[in-house]
């Protein structure tokens, strides 16, 4: 039996970064908001405190803050010919499952994606001709511009305490910043983090090679900070336990210590934890949604929460899954190329080298989430000619550390035995005296990379798992070759005692090991309902009172981490709802 509850103005599914931002903004605008979060409440004081938070086994290896795959997971395969099988435990990506979502245990790298992404098809067609884009590459313009998002990027950077150095202030290039970034109205709220030796050495080598290194912008407060909402941050302690941990110093910009507590203090807000949304309900004519059905996972009771507006903020994967389970929008089918929901799933690619310097102490355990220097010369630099390398998109290259905990990180030169005294000697010698250079590369949409519902496997609620079909294509392989070459040239110029060179990735995508929690697409934005699920306000083309917020809206993936535009789009959508939608409920863009 399902208990039907009293209608509220807004129901939010998932209380991570996007849900937190919308909960704060809409309750402040006077709307009654209920948030449903499948995970439990965790706080910095109680859970992310010393000494227990300094536990690599619990948080990194055993996934304490992350999705429990015994209850719900995906099935995975590399291509439509393969039979998909369940991802039986987490590996390649690590979505969160607590109040605050993945924003608790992220690293904080915060980027502004530019019109190079938002106008990708037009840019490449104009410069290289239509034929440069392979037939099966389903990239498209996003239907939004950098200029529209600029103030919202700023809002997110100031909320999350991003430390960095502007490279382009209102059109004037700034020394020490990223000269290829798009113009920004204001600098970052905080100066860059203190550089570590590895990032300084990388910067010198990159500069000598003619590139333009800059400190990676990160939501790790370089000094104590109070954000415009009054949320207080401590200064980053370079503790080395950033990614996959909650921050004990409250120095990492996270929803659970910024927007969520503000919403919680607002009487218009109610949070229900352990509340697992299973379905978005539609009205009889299918033009509006009526609310959300959820299960209290503490006792199995089912509820229906009616609402005038439904916001899906449950992370890329769960947002798309909920649309498919609820029958909202036509499911995508890659062979006939019909439908839209599930289309353009993308991920990221990469390459990396390890450099060994006899006698040089990097102290790899002293780092912030964003202790890297980066070059964007092969990424947002449109002057970089892609034609000779025959790929679209780009990659950024960085040197430094953002995690070097010993269960996961013990670099040794290739050829070292895996056990015994010789292995221990090498581990002892090189742990502190090695550094890494890594590239992160974009992934272009491909017609065969997509989501749909699995025909066989089910979750704990008896619902079909979502099926992910994904593999790297030629474009990524060619980019990998180029990225490995760039990395190796920089690495060799640094004269390491030994070098484990970077190689281009040629093997299929695998569910292990960890790669990144930068999944994108599946419920993408665009300028018409024929090839997108959402309009530019992340409003469903099918049901105008449904908004789907997250990187699910990205039609392709860049080489950057996603949360800059995810946060900006959350504020942008909040404004669209407050300022336009509630005054005149209906489609904000005419189809």
């Amino acid at each position: 039996m399902t208990t039907k509850l009293r209608e509220v103005d807004v129901v939010i599914v998932g209380l991570g970064w996007t849900g937190g931002i919308l909960a704060k903004e809409l309750t402040e605008a006077g709307m009654k908001v209920v948030a449903l979060e499948r995970g439990g409440m965790r706080t910095s004081e109680n859970d992310y405190s010393l000494p227990n938070i300094r536990d690599e086994l619990r948080y990194v290896v055993r996934h304490d803050l992350m999705q429990n795959t015994a209850r719900d997971t995906l099935t995975v395969r590399n291509n439509p010919q393969q039979e998909a099988l369940p991802m039986r435990r987490l590996g390649s990506f690590l979505p969160g499952e607590v109040v605050g979502g993945s924003g608790v245990h992220w690293s904080g790298h915060t980027w502004r994606w530019t019109d190079m992404e938002f106008k990708i098809r037009s840019n490449y067609e104009e410069r290289y001709g239509k034929k440069f884009i392979p037939d099966d590459m389903t990239i498209k313009d996003w239907g939004i511009s950098y200029a529209e998002l600029e103030p919202y990027y700023e809002k997110f950077e100031y909320t999350a305490a991003v430390s960095g150095k502007a490279g382009n202030l209102a059109g004037t290039i700034q020394a020490g910043g990223n000269p290829f970034e798009a113009p920004r109205a204001r600098d970052y709220p905080l100066p860059p983090l203190t550089p570590i030796l590895a990032s300084e050495m990388f910067s010198d080598a990159a500069r000598n090679a003619g590139y333009h290194p800059f400190p990676r912008p990160s939501a790790n407060a370089s000094q104590p900070y109070t954000n415009p909402d009054g949320s207080k941050f401590g200064g980053c302690q370079y503790c080395g336990y950033c990614q996959r941990f909650g921050c004990e110093a409250n120095a990492k910009g996270s929803a659970h210590m910024t927007v969520i507590p503000i919403a919680m203090r607002n009487p218009n807000f109610e949070l229900r934890t352990h509340a697992w949304a299973t379905r978005v309900n539609k009205d009889s004519d299918g033009k509006r949604v009526t609310g959300v059905t959820y299960t209290n996972v503490l006792n199995g009771e089912e509820f229906e929460q009616p609402a005038s507006i439904v916001l899906l903020c449950a992370y890329v994967l769960n947002n798309v899954h909920l649309l498919l389970l609820s029958g909202i929008g036509a499911p995508y089918e890659p062979v006939a190329q019909t439908g839209v929901v599930g289309k353009n799933y993308c991920y990221q690619t990469g390459a990396g080298a390890t450099l060994f310097f006899d006698g040089k102490y990097f102290n790899p355990f002293m780092n912030a989430g964003g202790s890297n220097a980066t070059i964007d010369d092969f990424n947002t630099n449109w002057a970089f000619d892609r034609a000779p390398h025959d790929f679209l998109g780009g990659f950024n290259v960085s040197g430094g550390f953002n995690t070097a905990l010993p269960i996961g990180y013990r670099p040794v030169p290739s050829g070292t035995p895996q056990w015994g005294t010789a292995w221990k000697q090498a581990t002892a010698k090189w742990y502190q005296t090695a550094m890494t250079i890594n590239a992160s590369g974009s992934v272009m949409a491909n017609r065969y990379n997509c989501f749909d519902l699995d025909p066989t496997y089910r979750n704990a609620f008896g619902q079909p798992l979502m099926r992910m079909t994904f593999d790297y294509k030629d474009n990524e392989h060619k980019m990998g070759v180029h990225a490995a070459g760039v990395i190796n040239d920089i690495a060799k110029s640094m004269n390491p005692t030994k070098l484990n060179s970077a190689t281009a990735r040629t093997d299929p995508w695998t569910v292990v090991p960890y790669q990144s929690t930068h999944n994108t697409g599946g419920a993408i934005m665009g300028s018409n309902p024929r090839d997108s699920v959402l309009n530019k306000y992340l409003q469903s083309w099918d049901c105008h009172n449904l908004f789907v917020i997250g990187a699910n809206a990205f039609p392709h993936n860049s080489s950057y981490n996603p949360t800059g535009p995810v946060g900006a789009l959350a504020y942008w959508t909040a404004d669209a709802i407050k300022n336009h939608y509630v005054k005149n409920p209906g489609p904000l863009v005419q189809a």
Binding site: D55, R62, L85, I407, V511
Partner: protein
Amino acid sequence: MKKPELDRRDFIKGAVVGGAAAAGATTAITPIDIAQAEPAPAAPTAAPQAAGYEFLNLDEAAFIEAMVDHMIPADDISPKGTDLGVNIYIDRALAGSWGKGDRLYMQGPWKPGAPSQGYQLPLTPAQLYRASIEAANTHCRKTYGQSFDRLEAAQREEVLVGLSTGKIKFDSGLPVRTFWTTLYQTVIEGMYSDPIYGGNRNKAGWAIIGFPGAIAVHRDHVESYRGKPFPSKPLGIADLS
């Protein structure tokens, strides 16, 4: 070939056999058990640790102890694997929620799948360990006439190479590489996880690499130790609690 001395497993089995016989039980006793029933001189001191195993049976404990001491021999870098408590770590991990399949999606149908699809066995980590140790010992008995813990160093080395490269195939059909990856990962965890989990005893694993452990504050060290060795005595969670 020198016969390894009788170990405490023999002693304990002997004790059990003796006890059962005294109580008039009809437990099947193999000649090997009886032959090994004399107490070994070293056994009494080692016995309390064996009594502390939560999951591993005697054969498994002997296998794991031999394995971790071979992978992590005593030398001037660190004490040996069992002195680091890696065997205890593994036992606790297998006995605990991880070993029982916590967070593992355990619904069929079960198919081998492609390597890119990850772990696909219908076994919890504890079940995988149990079945694989049995299979590895079967291989050792067939090849060398002895279980793994009774092999000489060179033979142990050969078995490890076979397991890690997949050259050894288990007759039972278990994928060797899956066992090896799990085993290797847990040995590493036993060396480098916080001592509260039973391994990394006295933080001697962290000391190998100079990892400072749970220490919290490097804000000033980032500048003052840039390029210099950081003189740290590692601290664990218990030290700070």
